[in-house]
Amino acid sequence: MTDFPTWLQGSAVGVWTRESPSIWAYPTVLTLHTMGLGVLVGANAVIDFRLLGCAPRLPIASLIPLYRFMWAGFALNALTGAMLFASDATVKAGQPVFYIKLALIACALVVTGVIRKTVERGPGLHDADPIAAPGRRLAALSLLLWAAAVTAGRLMAYL
């Protein structure tokens, strides 16, 4: 009986992503993974920097639609990430930095969720006032966690 990574790597999706000469296989999947990252982490950064005091004339409530873009980016990256993992599963499943990346993403998602609640509830986040310290701390933590997750992801190609 083969283990899960070996099975996944030999599956149709793993073989196609890794070995197809089509421009729509590996090159496109990897590019979409980068674009999804840009949308997810980029939209996060907009809200985080706003909470840290950048662009104070931007009403915080007006940023709430950005969460839809974040989820779209996350969904795209969950899909393309699973395909990239499948293409090289036996190697990736043995890399500690892969599990560190997943843990960092999980933590970052939790912080993003908490920030969303804070942003939606509103009180204490009056647009003209400086944001309260807990909001600023969460925003800084969010920036740090997403930056660390991106770094861990990038390191998967080298460690």
């Binding site: 992503t17 890794r18 070995e19 197809s20 000469p21 421009i23 296989a25 590996y26 090159p27 990897l30 840290l52 005091g53 950048c54 293409s87 400086p130 600023r136 800084a140 920036l143 740090l144 930056a147 660390a148 991106v150 770094t151 990038r154 390191l155 190609a157 080298y158």
Partner: protein
Amino acid sequence: MTVGWRMSVASVLAVGCMVCVTPVAAHHSAAAAYDESKRVEAQGTVKRVLVKNPHSWVFLESADDKGQKIEWQIEMGGVTSMAWTKDALPIGAAVKVAGNPSRAPGSHGMTGASFTKADGTPIGPRGGRGEYTPR
């Protein structure tokens, strides 16, 4: 935002940039794993060709100075740059190869390889330099 916050955010971003940018540069130059200032030559028999993304591999059965059997592991480009190998690099073919050696001590790896037949005829596009073909 206080000056302290500004400083801490700037520091986080600066460190993040440095950490991110360094391996990316290494990736494109292959300089982290291979010594591009050196060139090694080898000859042997094509044992195995792995055509896969992001990088393909050619394995060459060869012998070292003392006649011991060794395997050269040659890192190549992605799938789209490897179409020529299907006809030009059959399993069992005797070839000569020159490229940049791996930095790992005791290993027999190379990249940026150009291939020729035993008589010196270039194999593959661009005079034997088949991989990393710019499109």
